[in-house]
Subunit: 370 residues, 2 copies
């Protein structure tokens, strides 16, 4: 039988994730598998937790990777906290805010939303108004970097408003972690999740998460069991925390090796240097697009460096350009989602992809295809 893996091409991944993987992360993926209760693996788990705390700027003990992709991280944050009837405020200006709203509703939450037009950031004043309107929310949820639109939301300012209430504060950092400063303790974020396949440059498969002590207290005070055995953080804590590690499920060993390696690589580069590299590549991209008369959808200062919503010029067929970039130039970019389908390309500059030579290669290819 033909083995399709023998001819997997090396594609420059400039979509909304996965991003290009660090060579040393590929190597880490194929390090010898250890048992999930092996002492040497537990040391790697402990180091990984420490490195995650560093890059998230948090002291939260329960900072660990969930055994699923970024959306499993979203699920974990909601399912551990929400009980039927709980009032939840979700800030929606793209696919991932919408998804949070769906996840919470399925768990029986009474969801209120503050919305902003796709392509624009959540307005802090509207959050203040919603929070002052009388409902005592159990949870307020915001997306730091909206992958569907390339918009940066003011999660620090929103955090200050939430801090004046009893609500827990949940931040989605799937696309930001590693490429922009993430400061959980400063923001007052109680719940956080990310993904490995964006600015961490690990293949998809894990969701780095963090629960504050307040979040763990809310979990402890539930009146019902978490309706999800796999993601129940009170049980996961017995495996990821404490002196004696108890088996819960078999951890994805090699993916954790890969995450550990990526966090080491980022620590060696220096987090600030990684942020600067993302910013510089973004600016290089914007300048290059300007030269060929192509515009970005999002206005400054809400533009994300790592996810660029590029307007499809009038009269150009979105899909055909994307297909040719892939087939003729081995470059992947992403399509628009929902109301933005056909109107934008999503050009990712995430993690290992964010290199000046990759920006040049993309600009050159795009100019040729257009």
């Amino acid at each position: 039988m033909e083995n399709l893996l023998s001819k997997v091409p090396d594609v420059l991944l400039m979509g909304p994730g996965p991003s290009c993987v660090y060579p040393e992360v590929y190597k880490a993926l194929s390090a010898p598998t250890l048992g999930h209760l092996d002492g040497e693996f537990i040391r790697i788990m402990d180091e990984t937790k420490g490195l995650l705390r560093d890059i998230m700027n948090t002291e939260n003990a329960m900072t660990f990777p969930v055994s699923g992709t970024g959306s499993a991280g979203m699920e974990t944050c909601f399912v551990n906290i929400i009980e039927p009837g709980d009032p939840v405020l979700v800030l929606v200006n793209g696919v991932f805010g919408t998804r949070m709203s769906d996840v919470a509703s399925r768990l029986g939450a009474k969801v209120t939303t503050v919305e902003a037009e796709w392509g624009t950031p959540i307005r802090v004043e509207e959050v203040r108004k919603a929070i002052s309107a009388g409902t005592s929310y159990k949870l307020v949820a915001a997306v730091h970097a909206e992958t569907s639109t390339g918009v940066l939301n003011p999660v620090d300012e929103i955090g200050k408003i939430v801090a004046g209430t009893d609500a827990l504060y949940l931040v989605d950092g799937v696309t930001s972690l590693g490429g922009l400063p993430v400061k959980l303790d400063e923001w007052g974020a109680d719940l956080f999740y990310s993904g490995t396949q964006k600015c961490l440059s690990v293949p998809p498969g894990l969701a780095p998460c963090s629960f504050s002590d307040r979040a763990l207290k809310a979990l402890k005070q539930r009146s019902s069991k978490v309706p999800n055995w796999y993601l129940d953080v009170s049980m996961l804590a017995n495996y990821w925390e404490g002196a004696k590690r108890a088996y819960h499920h078999t951890a994805p060993i090699n993916m954790i090796y890969a995450l550990y390696q990526s966090l080491l690589t980022l620590a060696e580069e220096g987090h600030e240097n990684s942020f600067a590299r993302h910013k510089q590549c973004h600016e290089q991209l914007v300048r290059g697009l300007e030269k060929i008369g192509v515009e970005l959808m999002v206005d400054e200062p809400a533009r994300l460096p790592m996810l660029n919503a590029v307007k499809v010029p009038d009269g150009v067929d979105e899909e055909s350009v994307r297909t040719r970039l892939r087939s003729e130039h081995n470059i992947e970019v992403g399509a628009g989602l929902g109301p933005l389908a056909g109107k934008i390309w999503r050009v990712g500059l995430m993690g290992h992809t964010a290199r000046p030579e990759n920006v040049d290669r993309f600009l050159d290819a795009l100019a040729k295809v257009l």
Copy 2:
């Protein structure tokens, strides 16, 4: 900073999983990451589905790997079918039957159990009695190979009884798939899940699952949305099935490469040859243990070939032997769980671990340590 991956030892994994990984699967893990909507990746997804159908002996279209470990497969099967108040019959003779019962209860099922002593198989007559007792069960759930005790349950005979009712039939094949014949369509199994880290010899991280058309119909007829966005099979089907693949969550690309490679390797060996190899290694182990006066806990014919519950001889300290096997001989075996803690070692002969030279190495090491 020290890189712990530079000195990960090569351990002979003879516990309850993870098992030793095929060299070509390590290589597959580090093949270049593709986008989750890339045409070449979709071909690999399609081939993987076909290979899974082959090894599960099913025609089920919705046969695919869930993006989580084996327990996420369990969660997927229950959460898509169960609604609060649904009567469910769970057959319990170990940790994994107990876990199914917990998962179902958390989702609001009214759970009835048929139990058998740990170390003995479920008795078919008791299942028949329970099913005839008047309750019309929505689901009957059984474990094929109980990893906690090394017991084979008669899932084929149980299937014949369930077939006489309206209930859906769920089989846990985490430890059996790849090492024992799995025949979903012959058994009448409507729902099935497995894991990659047992007889498929892939690192942990995916749960191969299968849903029959009857199961999909039950999912369609739910009165409420699946209370788990991440594992909602009606949405996952839009990504794994059909002509136009719609983004749901970002699939764990490199883990899927690894699963694909393992299924190719097993197909090349021949499934029957793999089953025979597991059986021969098991017999070699039993003979060797007899020679040094060590007994198995489970009586024939319920012994699993790939998971051997080995009685700790009187006066021997279970933990110290296990620790010395690991530290002096680089061999991992598993401890007993729950009521079997301290009483058995769990010696796995799964997938790539099931080689005559590994059995010899273990027997030699055990004799030395005892």
